[in-house]
Symmetry: C2
Subunit: 209 residues, 2 copies
Amino acid sequence: MRVAEPTVERLVQYYRLLEQLREEGRLVVSSHQMGEMLGIKASQVRKDLSYFGEIGKRGVGYHVDRLCGHISRILASPQIWRIGLVGVGHLGYALLGHSAFRSDKFRIDALFDVDPAKVGQEISGVPCFHLNDLPEVVRERDIQVLILTVPASAAQACVDKAVESQVVKGILSFAPTALVAPEGMLVYRVDISVELEKLLFFLKGGAGV
Amino acid sequence: MRVAEPTVERLVQYYRLLEQLREEGRLVVSSHQMGEMLGIKASQVRKDLSYFGEIGKRGVGYHVDRLCGHISRILASPQIWRIGLVGVGHLGYALLGHSAFRSDKFRIDALFDVDPAKVGQEISGVPCFHLNDLPEVVRERDIQVLILTVPASAAQACVDKAVESQVVKGILSFAPTALVAPEGMLVYRVDISVELEKLLFFLKGGAGV
DNA sequence: TTTTGTGAAGTTTTTCACAGCG
DNA sequence: CGCTGTGAAAAACTTCACAAAA
């Protein structure tokens, strides 16, 4: 069964919350309480969870530990993903140390850059290669996912290198630009300037002056 | 007229593309060409633009410079926003230098941290204050927007300080956690770990093992 | 002709409302 | 009783398809 993207997005949030509740020793939680804490409607929480079977207990709520395990299995990977990080500037370096990147679901296995001062070095314990060598390095190291923290002007060239490698399946790009990729390659974008523009747009109260 | 969030998101992309086309000396572009370059359907491009009046010429397309100016006015701010950046770790520092943050629509006017080594210093030319002083500093400096690059565990406390100030209207948070804020305060989140989890989820082909 | 602008249709996502179970 | 699970309704968003303008 196809799971919608907004649902996956919320599942990750449910999981985070449940981990926290579990640490606090909480045994049971209702959809209403979860929604309250996450800013999501209770009916939405129930609908999302219902796609995966009857997990809750009527009149009671959801068993925290059980639900946590359940979502964990839904989100689980069949493997530990190996990830290549392209562009070791400030943002790339920040992501290397970011809490989002401490997971047993994947690991950053190689860095890529064009700066001779970085190529050949280890940074935070990860070896840095030249961007030109990306296709062969990702093949050798079985890297299927790339994270792009390069300037907009360099991003498409990185995608092209990834396509050339024939083994990269997915890309998470932080470059503020559109990217063209072939069918079958999954590209997600985190566009910081778009988010900031949206915030400012709705802050001023919408269109017009 | 209310403009939908997905439309604003695309308007920012159209604007970027048009600036680029203008630099290249291009005079006219069709909805189909814009869509092609951005991975958006031509009908979607036309629908988005049509909300703001008849901007194109039938049989011809859109005049690049004119459309650029038009979107610029739609996205324009009534003021130069002053922004406070909370949390001067690697990510915060990266954002300070990020291309998304070179804009004449806003400027980073103050930094906040709890690290005694940073408080009292200027970093990239911006003064750093202690988080505890946030309410008064944002009032003095007329800061209405905060960017949070703090750990998840510290994020809610920052929101609470922002609420206390009574002048902060909007927050862009990079902390991987839900935040509760009162009605009227606009909170947007950029959740890197959620995006990565989504990518990996759909890479493995959806739910289940 | 070409390409826009747009009502109508289609699709996706959210919310409602209540039956059903513990 | 309280809370889940879920069809049905509503809302939001996208795509179609074509009339109308250049």
